[in-house]
Structure formats: structure tokens, C-alpha cells
Symmetry: D2
Subunit: 216 residues, 4 copies
């Protein structure tokens, strides 16, 4: 199932528009801040489908029966571009455990590239609700590789895959490689095209470079 958060308008669209704007991108503080705010919004929307149970809390003036989150989802992200988006999720799910996975593009002489997993630091995910977030979902291969790496550490009860901007082709790729019963995909916007180097068009460019500086 694919949920497109920009289908109804909200301030989320303003943030995505600012992320795309080549002029506004020059302020990397705002660029990262927009990704953090988007992470908060995604976290909130995903939280609507989580489980709550009524507990009794003692207030200074009485007793209240209030709904509390049964279990915090595990927050995982793909390095390095996913970090500010992940931070936004963590701001909202402050008690969550976390995982970090690195996916690296290895460029070949013929102009093609392959994606490798080099680093994975993951907490217990067996039978947990997991969120796997990355800023962009272009070809979909990083996301699928990260997911495959993730499930070598345990079997999540359900995984929410989240991306700010996605490409139609990439969404198809995810659909093809991960059973639709296992995941829900959340995206902020869907763009139609992709370059030969798997950058989304119009997209926003290289999210990692824009947040953290041009990688050598």
C-alpha cells in the first residue's frame, strides 16, 4: 500500500517545495531543518496506525485514563542522506530504538553503478514495528537492499518504508521485490522521471551532498 502525504495539501508541501528550490538549498541549516520537520510529520501520520492502550495516570488534581503508545517503532535509516529525516522521526518517537545502514554507490568505469551494504548497526527488530526511512526513493535499489539487510537481523511484524520524494519506477521496483503484506510505503511526493545516474527529475538533487557537503 502506498500512502502519498502530499495528496491533500498541508505545510508538508511547503517544506518539500523549499527542499527542491536550488536557491533555498544554499542554506543547509534550512535544508536539514525541513527534512527534520518532514520526519516529524511522517512520524505523526504513521503513529495514527499504531496501537495504544488506556492507562491510569495520576495528575496533580486527579486520576486520568489516557491512551498511551503500547510500543515504540524501531527507527532505521540509510546513511548518510537519511540522517536528518531520521532525526525528525526520533524527535517525535523519542523512546524508539534505532538502526543505521549504509548503502554505497560503487561507480563502474562503464558509467553504471552498483549499490553495496557496508555497515549495519541495528537493534532488536524481531516481531517489532519498524520504520525504514530515506530521503529519496529513486531506483529503489538502496531501499530494497537496506530492507533485505534489515531482515537478516530479525523478522519485523510490519515495516513502514518512508521517503520524502519517490520515483514511480522505484516504487514499482520496491513492489516487485518486497511482499506487499510486509510493508506500507509512505511518500511525500512522486516524480515521474529519473536520470541515467538514478537521480529523480525534477527531484531535488543529491540530498546527502545538500545536507552534509559534496562527498569525495
Amino acid at each position: 500500500m502506498i500512502k502519498v502525504l502530499s495528496s491533500g495539501n498541508s505545510i508538508l508541501n511547503q517544506y518539500i517545495s523549499e527542499l527542491r528550490d536550488a536557491e533555498i538549498q544554499k542554506d543547509s541549516l534550512r535544508f536539514r531543518n525541513n527534512l527534520e520537520r518532514l520526519g516529524g510529520i511522517f512520524a505523526y501520520e504513521i503513529s495514527k496506525g499504531l496501537s495504544y492502550e488506556t492507562k491510569e495516570v495520576i495528575t496533580p488534581l486527579g486520576i486520568a485514563n489516557v491512551p498511551m503508545l503500547v510500543e515504540y517503532p524501531v527507527l532505521t535509516t540509510i546513511l548518510r542522506a537519511g540522517l536528518p529525516f531520521h532525526q525528525g522521526f526520533l524527535n517525535f518517537f523519542d523512546k524508539s530504538e534505532n538502526g543505521f545502514i549504509s548503502a554505497f554507490r560503487r561507480h563502474h568505469k562503464d558509467g553504471t553503478f552498483s549499490i553495496n551494504i557496508e555497515y549495519a548497526s541495528v537493534t532488536e527488530i524481531e516481531n517489532k514495528v519498524v520504520i525504514l526511512c530515506d530521503t529519496m526513493l529513486a531506483s529503489g535499489s538502496s531501499m530494497v537492499l537496506a530492507y533485505k539487510e534489515l531482515i537478516t537481523h530479525g523478522k519485523p511484524r510490519h515495516t513502514h518504508i518512508a521517503a520524502v520524494v519517490a520515483n514511480l519506477e522505484g516504487l514499482e521496483y520496491v513492489k516487485k521485490h518486497i511482499s506487499k503484506n510486509d510493508i506500507t510505503v509512505w511518500v511525500g511526493a512522486i516524480d515521474d522521471e529519473m536520470t541515467a545516474q538514478s537521480y529523480i527529475v525534477p527531484g531535488l538533487g543529491d540530498a546527502g551532498d545538500l545536507a552534509y557537503g559534496k562527498k569525495l
Copy 2:
């Protein structure tokens, strides 16, 4: 129209539950942080009803037609308890102009009290969308007084009144004193009772004291 954000479950309920808990309240950093996060969530939900227009932005890889907020709402709050909640709105509506109004409880010898407006620092609100937020809506008299003060500075196009915890009686009071065409009321939770001193029961106690220390 009254919109109750806790009617469907979300992480918002977790934050309100933590705000109520007399143990968790001892950590004023978390108390303020929960109010900020709630301000962000209210801002986001209110933003779904604002106006957007499609603009062209130039990305590093192309041209995108994207929806952008036509006009930021003016954010106003009641001192001092409303400040952390207001900060959450401002985190999300970073380009908004702001207003601050102080409502002060004057306690009389017979145990009753009246509420006075002492300070109002407000930007242009004529024909603007305005958000007026306060942490608690108990008797409703602070909120109504602040609103009445506000409209001496101009006539807003529409005003969103927002409170984390409200009391039924207070909501009735607001309804009685402000035309329902002029406002939308957003609340996080509704409690049934109120003490003689107009504290909501079970509520969460004195939000200003909990955020900033016991007032002399």
C-alpha cells in the same frame, strides 16, 4: 466547530498523557518539549485547511510545479503558559508573524478572581488567518478576553483557537461569546470537571508553573 485531535489515536495522545503525569512533570525540559511537539502537530493539522498555490521552482535537475503556502497564519498566544505551545507552532510556521497577550488572574479576598489583559504586542491581523493558542482552556474567560483584545487590533479573516486540554464548560463559554462563523476550535483532549479555582480536573495542574516555575 470543534475539532478534537485525540478522537483518533496518535502520538499526540502519548504527549498529552505525559503532560498529565505528575511524575513525568518533574522534568520541565520534557514538559516543555511535549508542548512544543503538540504545537507542531496542531500546526500541521490546521495547515491542512490553509490555501496553497502552485509555483514553479527550479531544482538542480529541472523545473517542478509545487504547491506553496499562500499566506502564513499569524500566531498569537497567551502569556506565560502558552509560550512553549506557541513555540511548536512557530517551529512549523517559521515565516509567521506573532502576537503575545498577557492575561492575569487577579485573586479577590472572597476567593473569586477576575482576569485582566495587561500586555498585548500584536502584528497586523486585519483580514489575516490568525491562530490563538493557549495550553489550557478551562473556564474559557482568558481565551475570550484575549480574543476580544486581539480584534481591537484588526478583524481577522478567520481565527483558529487551539488548546491542549479543554473543559466542556469552557468550550460552552467560548461558543456563547464568540460567533461560530469567526472561529474554529482545536483541542487535544476534553475533560469534564473543573475546580472552584477554574483548574481542569483531572487536567494537568498549572501549565505555567510546570513549564516555568511557581509564580510568586
Copy 3:
């Protein structure tokens, strides 16, 4: 005693320079963020003179004898311009109690103005270390009035007065009206001139308007 934090260079100077720049000021998010960061730096520098006592804490691997702050200072500020600077202090002194005082310029027909205190919400300050912060210290009259208001609520053990940009004349005014044994003054930068309307030159303009929008 006057401590000028910009006398040795540090990133503090970068923030003050950005606050001054009429172009960069257009981004009110960055303007407020710079004030918050400066509040953090002032808090840290002031914290070097506070009292600490060694306490035993149990770590997961042993027992450590560590220095902990004996008493958090009370943080007070002048509305509305002081709020983002105060937020920076509160980020660093998260357990502090707080006070808010409003000083209002009443403009007279002859072009002069007087400053009135309208609102004061202050926690217990008797025998406490107090920080009184405002973004600008121009003529010094707001700061002196706020201090005089403050000490009607109790006698602080010592008060640290903090301002991002100060004027020489204003510093003289403070010195003349408050005993030098009672206060330490901390400033980020000192400018020489002042307009007839008591705006510091070159200064940065109206800090309240820049942070929160032009006041009616």
C-alpha cells in the same frame, strides 16, 4: 563589572554579524536561531562562575564523583524581543525557573517616549542568582526598569544582566542606576551611537520586529 564576550573571537561573533546583516535578517528562522545559540553561549560563559559541588553518581560500570550545579539561576527576560535569547539560556539551564517582564515604549506627541512596565510574571528570586536578559541594551532604561520591577519581588543574591548588543551610553545609564556590587553585565558587542529614538547604531534594527513581525 562589564564582560564583553566578543573581545576574543569566537563563533559568537559570526552569529552577531549575521543578526546585523539586513539581507540575512529576512530569514526570521535564522534570526531567532542565532539569538538562541547566543543565549546558549552566554549561559555557558555565565555558568563558569556558578557554584558546583561534588556528588557521587552510580554509572553502569562504577561510581563517579562528579561536579554538579548547586543551584540553577532564575532566568528572566523582557518581552517580546528577549524571548528567543531567553530560550537559548533555557536550553542550557533546563532546570531553571523563569520570569517574564514586559516593558512598553509609550510614544508621546513631541517625539519622545517613556517606558512602562505592564506585565511581570516572576518566580521566587529571594537570595537567588538571577539572569536578566534582553537582546538589546540601548538607552538602558528598559533594563533598569525591568531590574527595579524584579527586585520588588525579592532580593537576588546576584544578578547577571545580559544583552547581545549594547550601547556605551546605555551601559553608563545602568552603572548609574544599579549598584555595581549587585550586578555583572555581559554583552556580546558594544556599539557607539544611538538614534534619537534610542535605536543602537549600527546595531541591528528592531529585534522584536525581526524575530516576530512588525508590531502594530
Copy 4:
């Protein structure tokens, strides 16, 4: 050269004490927040030794000659434990470029372990001032390995190595393996002992687990 920031008391000591406390550690939001605040303080102290040049900026009321940072340092950190500390540096050096390096402990059957570099995503560092930060400096081998990895990407003009808590033995190890002309070491506190598994005693436990959850 080793600079020990806790040698004079400041609020930095309060944060380190809270990080150590097994009870306070249960709140991972505060744990990460303390690391972020410490990153800000380290950034500020390091910034005192950076280069500034006077530039002319136009304020709304005149022209100011102000000192601005000539060049932002490159901020690099070791995954995953260094991330919240690094975030604090980035909050203060918002225009900096960044690098991320993963160091992984590979535990051997005989109880010993070796540290491997798996992932390095680094921006241009040639002739730049670089900050390499990690929460703990225990045996020193992660830090030295990360540094050695770093300089395969270019030769920094100078590198500041920063750690919240360090061990004497680890500081000796760094001194032995990196020329003292190339680096300045900044630490928040120095502890005497270390376990066979290279955890600092009394230290604070496993910083990565405390910030992000127990790693599988």
C-alpha cells in the same frame, strides 16, 4: 596538546554528570540532548582558536565592521555513538561540511576484539581544519583508525579530536600514533580505568546503546 574542558567548572560538568548517571540514562531523549549540548560547548571552545576576518555588513541603521569566520571546519564523526555529539557541533557550525566513518568492533572467540573501518563518507578535507569527534575515547584505537582513514582522503591543515569522556591510556595511545603537531585533543573528562572490553570506568557505559538502543 590536550585541553580538558572540565578543569574549570561549568554547566558542561552538569551534563557529563547526567550522562554518567544510570538512573538519568533511562531517558534517552535527555541522554542525546546532553550530548548535543556538549557538542555545542566543544564547538564554541574550539571556535575561539579559528580565524576571523573583518567584513562590512549593512544593518538597517548603518554599516558595521564585524568579525566573521573565515572558514568553517569540516565536522567528522564515528558511527553510531558519535552522532548526537556531532549534531551539537553542527548546530553551532551550521555551514560546515561533514564526514561519517564507521568503526566496528569485531569480537573474537578468545574474548579479544579488533576494530575495523567499514564505511567512510567524507567531504573535501585537503588543507582544511577538521574536527573528529566521538563520545568516548577509551582504548583510543577507534579514534586512531578513524583518523588514519580520514587522512587517506586528504591532508587536513589541523585536526581537532574531541571526546566527552576519555581514558588516560587511550590518550597515550593517540599521542603515540598521531604526531602532536597535527592534532589538538579536547576532552570533557578523563577517567583512570578501563575494563578488559575497553569500556571506561567509571565512564558511562555504552554510549551508542544508551543513545540508540542495544545493538544486536
